[in-house]
């Protein structure tokens, strides 16, 4: 008997009949051939989130991103006109990497008036125009206006900077994001600027880790020892049910129930959480931004105001998870091969006004890492078994609808690309 109502069709999965209910192949997550296609069909044909506007506080602020899945590095910069632009991070002369510090393969950030190539000193304005060529007279009919930096499509939504690496995006960023994600635009992202950023190289396909974040069927099992024993028993007995699942094009979301830690009996909560009034779900005390976060109904499209968290997975590799306690975090999965990716996670809180608030954020951030590390290592084990090819298909339950949707979307996009004559 479901604790929370399901759609009239009897299940979330059957509410979206195109998904089917058959067991699913994870070939897409262990095949080098599929990965080669996925790079072109997905990562060069989708808008990709690369950073927040707060990372570019002034005109001339820039950061670079290494996008290995597309074999490129980009530089994102706020121009003298305050507009944010993105370029392939290479000099138009002989292709030297333009912006880097000490280690050419590592990302960097800073502020400058113009870009100067470290090789022969060619210079570029922040709008990409080539402004200076060393010994220009030595060249043969060189027209500098034809040698600006190679632009990358770039647009901003809700303070998130997206790029598109294709020649001509088939959709504007807003059309790509669609109605469900678009309804998050009024969330006060610009007021939640205290950031805790994590990074790991994970020995697993990007979709396999994403699966562990977009279903909570695993939570009572994998994370059982995180909690005092009594709470643990209650969780395992009940299992997990989401409040709501929703799909919109390639994007997907779920809301799950919350707990009110301060209402739990003392033996069901870590003593340090009670002392510092914070835990995985966030600080117990409201920040000044809390009312503005709670006012955004788009964070819970099922209408469940009692939600604890809602995760929106924005195609292909960007997740935003909203916590009822008035903060949010993001996930990024940047593939580096068919069996490895870079995982990034950023937690954002209202800036702490005093030591107690800072410590509450630290508590949440540390607890978050304990959970994430459990997921991280588990999925590495999945990759080793998937690669062995023992299983051809896997059954997926209704609480795994988002797993089903992710892999179907990936397969559909690769097949569409091939139908259009695309190759790896």
């Amino acid at each position: 008997m479901a604790r929370f109502p399901k759609p009239a069709e009897g299940s979330w999965t059957e509410h979206y009949p195109e998904l089917g209910t058959a067991p699913v192949s994870f070939y897409d997550s262990c095949s080098p051939a599929f990965y080669a296609l996925e790079r072109k069909a997905i990562f060069e044909r989708s808008w990709l989130e690369v950073g927040r506007v707060e990372q570019l506080p002034r005109n001339g602020s820039y950061f670079t991103r290494e996008i290995q899945v597309a074999d490129t590095s980009i530089v994102v910069v706020r121009g003298h006109d305050a507009r944010i632009r993105a370029f392939h991070n290479l000099c138009r002369h002989r292709g030297n990497k333009l912006v880097w510090s000490d280690f050419p393969r590592e990302e960097t950030h800073g502020t400058c008036r113009q870009f100067v190539c470290k090789y022969h000193g060619w210079r570029y304005d922040l709008d990409g125009a080539c402004s200076f060529v060393q010994q220009e007279g030595e060249f043969f009919g060189l027209d500098r206006s034809g040698y600006g930096l190679v632009p990358v499509h770039c647009d901003v939504w809700a303070g998130f900077i997206f790029v598109h690496l294709g020649e001509t995006p088939r959709q504007s960023l807003r059309d790509f994001l669609g109605a469900m994600v678009g309804a998050l635009e009024s969330y006060p992202f610009d007021r939640l600027t205290e950031r805790y950023g994590f990074r790991a190289v994970v020995p697993a396909n990007w979709k396999i880790f994403l699966d562990a974040l977009q279903e909570q069927y695993h939570a009572p099992i994998v994370h059982r020892s995180q909690r005092p024993e009594n709470f643990d028993d209650a969780m395992q007995h009940g299992g997990f049910e989401a409040l709501h699942y929703q799909l919109d094009g390639p994007h997907r979301m779920f809301s799950s129930p919350g707990i009110q830690p301060w209402q739990l009996p003392a033996d069901q909560i870590k003593p340090s959480e009670r002392l510092l009034r914070s835990g995985l779900f966030g600080p117990w005390d409201d920040s000044p931004v809390h009312p503005a976060t709670a006012a955004v109904a788009g964070t819970r499209p099922g209408g469940h105001d009692s939600f604890g968290v809602s995760l929106f997975e924005i195609w292909p590799n960007f997740g935003i998870q909203f916590w009822q306690r008035g903060w949010y975090h993001t996930y990024h999965h940047w593939p580096i091969s068919h069996e490895a990716h870079v995982f990034e996670c950023n937690l954002y809180f209202a800036p702490a006004r005093n030591a107690r608030e800072r410590v509450a954020h630290e508590m949440t951030s540390v607890t978050f890492k304990e959970f994430a590390l459990q997921d991280d290592n588990l999925i590495a084990s999945i990759q080793t078994t998937l690669g062995a090819g023992v299983l051809t298909t896997c059954p997926l339950g209704d609480q795994e609808i988002l797993v089903r949707h992710l892999h179907k979307t990936a397969r559909d996009q690769v097949e569409a690309y091939e139908r259009e004559g695309g190759t790896s």
């Binding site: 003593p271 030591a355 410590v359 607890t367 590390l373 459990q374 991280d376």
Partner: protein, 115 residues
Amino acid sequence: MGSNRAEPRLPSPFADLEPFAELWSLATERERYARRLASSMEEMKTFYAAMTPRLDAVLDHCDGFPLDDMPDDATRLLQLVHSFIMVSFPVEVWGRPRIPDVGDAALDRVIEPAP
């Protein structure tokens, strides 16, 4: 080091926590996590037990300063609370420094506020 008594690292009302400051007043999560993995349960339990009854007084002291203009000794005191949080999982939940079944997986905190 040497035989001379070192300058106190913490504000004088917190002299009782002074023995922990050298090991646990650490500025970044990476340093605190590394210290946790390098520590015995006995060491962490002793530190945890010393901190627990002092948390309120420590936070009252730190809350007397703006976060962006905190004296060095108060900053080190606040870092002790961060380290208390870091050892809370081994002490309260895991019974060991490392998260079970996590092997050598790492998740580095690369961006964080100061202090």
